[in-house]
């Protein structure tokens, strides 16, 4: 299935076709637009946090007299139990939630690519051992692993991100390994090898770039998974801790009031939903645009 790719790469200027297909996918473009907007919000509010830009509202400001107010002109999405403006907190939570997604994926992709590349390229006993390690990790109940690490290290933002990343790399490793196993035997890699190029060069110049497209799609799909995992952890009270706002812990803090203040969980939940959906659709659009066969009708 992947064999023809190397030849297609050279013959038909795939970049153009990829772009053409991508741009013609309206749903995909919509998803990208949503992601771009989220990106702008995240960067803007991260800058605010750093103090580079000033902004009148403080997400941690507690105005107790204004607690649990329903959405209104003053508070578009209402206030929480400490009188904090939900909309402001959600805006501030954007970069945290996205950071959780991106950094966790970065961690898991890095480990996954390294392990997968070594296993797939070398094969033999190293492959065998690494794949058994993957099997072993898959044997652990993910939730317990996360809970334990968070309990030991404390539920700081970084710890939560790293833990989510650490349990999520096995899929990537398998994917990369499979790509490497096929590409290793392809003609141009053999050619490179007979030319006496070093292993490092072969891996990084010849194999990895060709193995990346599916990995990239997997990464895009991994981001919402990490965001959803953080939300689930927050729900159980072991996610990122306040006052640091994430969409997940806004919901977690609000769940007690769910029957009296619906806005506390409806809006952050929608935010997670829309973001995750945008990532999934964007990933799908990328995948479809990169496909070589299916679309040949």
């Amino acid at each position: 299935m992947t064999a023809p790719r190397s030849s297609a790469v050279r013959v038909s200027k795939p970049g153009d076709r990829f772009k053409r297909r991508l741009f013609s996918n309206r749903i995909g473009m919509g998803a990208f637009a949503v992601l771009a907007l989220l990106g702008i919000v995240a960067v803007l509010f991260y800058a605010l946090r750093l103090g580079a830009v000033s902004f009148p509202t403080n997400p941690d400001a507690t105005v107790l007299a204004d607690k649990l107010l329903a959405p209104s002109a003053a508070h578009w999405l209402g206030t929480d139990h400490l009188g904090r403006d939900v909309f402001t907190r959600m805006l501030h939570g954007t970069y945290v939630s996205l950071a959780v997604g991106f950094i966790a994926v970065l961690v898991s992709m890095t480990i996954g690519i390294v392990v997968g590349a070594i296993a797939g390229y070398t094969g033999g006993w190293a492959d065998n051992i690494l794949m058994r390690v993957v099997d072993a990790i898959l044997c652990f109940p993910t939730f317990f692993l996360i809970l334990t690490v968070v309990a030991v290290l404390g539920p700081s933002l970084i710890n939560v991100i790293v833990v989510i990343g650490l349990v999520g790399w096995t899929g990537t490793a398998r994917l990369v390994r499979a790509e490497f196993l096929t590409l290793r035997e392809s003609e141009y890699v053999r050619a490179a090898r007979t030319l006496g190029q070093s292993h490092v060069k072969i891996i990084f110049r010849h194999i990895l770039p060709n193995a990346m497209p599916p990995v990239f799609v997997a990464a895009v799909l991994g981001v919402p998974d990490a965001i959803l995992t953080e939300a689930g952890l927050s729900f159980l009270g072991i996610g990122v801790q306040p006052p640091q706002a994430t969409w997940g812990n806004i919901i977690a803090d609000g769940k007690t009031y769910i029957l009296d203040a619906w806005w506390l969980i409806l809006f952050p939940g929608l935010a997670i939903l829309v973001t995750a959906l945008a990532f999934y659709l964007a990933g799908e659009a990328l995948r479809e645009a990169g496909q070589t066969k299916t679309e040949r009708k």
């Binding site: 072993a136 317990f144 689930g232 919901i251 973001t275 799908e284």
Partner: protein
């Protein structure tokens, strides 16, 4: 084939040993004590504490503890730290409800996922396909607890239908039919909430495998020959999806015993997820060690089963 299975079994046992060892150390190194009376209780005298430690071998070095706890596990003598009940019956009493919920949810996943996927594939690129795609991704993107709350609140508060627990509480039913339907209802709602994401994934999967084969030359040939569309769809295209579907059965093995803490908590459903979660929170080492062991064993068995099934349905694959 036999040789392959034997070799894999040996490797699996090795892995199981390593996994149980690592999980035991992770569990025991987690801060907190396994005492049934909690951590902040000076009313317990040192003598009592020592007696308790001795009883559960907590005064031994860790490697000895591991040997003793595994020994007890295999001889069935392992008891919970908290109420001293044997571990196996404690886990077994959760089985019926857990199996029922997981089976119901798996039934829903396949029952709805497959037809939706086929339907989407038959309308590839057209409006129904797009709608199903969008809906599927929306359901995958839904945070599980959020959906669960929406369902519970919607049904209980606004539709005024009881749905917490295994059956309506304190109700004097008029007959067995009403009682059974009540039981089915209490099973169905959490099963649907659990299955929603799976249905979406399953439909995507069927659609993708079918779409792939619909692009193949032999399908185009079949179509060109004038075979009716439904025949092409169900006889030829679907066949391509059968193989991964069958293989997938292997991976269902651990899923049968699993459970979601979140769903079980919100629906007050007495399943395996809560047992594990509560054991983690209370540091009930024997329960955790056993659960981890069982889950790891099932994952490994599931992997093996998947490989064997894969070979069974695809003659081209030879296990070595």
């Amino acid at each position: 084939m036999i040789a392959f299975i034997i070799r894999r079994l040996l490797i699996s046992f090795g892995l199981l040993f390593v996994v149980s060892l690592i999980s035991f150390f992770i569990i025991t190194l987690t801060p907190g004590s396994p005492y049934p009376w909690g951590d902040l209780n000076p009313r317990i005298s040192q003598t009592t504490k020592d007696a308790y430690k001795k009883k559960f071998h907590l005064d031994e070095p860790l490697h000895r503890q591991y040997v003793l706890i595994m020994g007890d596990l295999f001889t069935g003598k392992l008891v919970s730290n908290k109420d001293e009940r044997p571990v196996l019956p404690k886990i077994a009493e959760r089985l019926p409800a857990t199996l029922l919920l997981n089976l119901a949810s798996i039934l829903l996943v396949y029952g709805f996922g497959i037809p939706l996927g086929i339907y989407a594939a038959s309308k590839l690129g057209r409006a129904p396909d797009t709608a199903i795609t969008l809906a599927a991704f929306t359901f995958i993107a839904l945070p599980g607890f959020w959906l669960a709350y929406l369902v519970v609140i919607g049904l209980v508060k606004y539709a005024e239908v009881p749905l917490l627990g295994l059956s309506t509480f304190g109700a004097a039913f008029s007959g067995p039919v009403q009682a059974v339907l009540d039981r089915v209802w209490h099973l169905a709602v959490p099963a649907v909430v659990m299955a929603v994401g799976g249905i979406a994934v399953q439909s995507r999967f069927i659609r993708a495998t079918m779409a792939e084969s619909l692009g193949e030359d032999y399908i185009r040939t079949a179509r060109a020959k004038g075979l009716p569309d439904t025949l092409v769809l169900y006889k030829h295209a679907l066949r391509n999806s059968v193989r991964p579907l069958v293989t997938g059965i292997g991976f269902l093995l651990p899923a049968l015993l699993g459970g979601s803490v979140i769903i079980e908590s919100i629906f007050a459903y007495p399943g395996m997820g809560r047992l594990g979660y509560e054991a983690v929170m209370e540091r009930d080492y024997p329960i955790l060690v056993t659960l981890n062991f069982v889950v790891a064993a099932l994952v490994l068995a599931g992997n093996l089963l998947a490989d064997v099934l894969y070979a069974a349905v695809d003659p081209r694959v030879r296990l070595q």
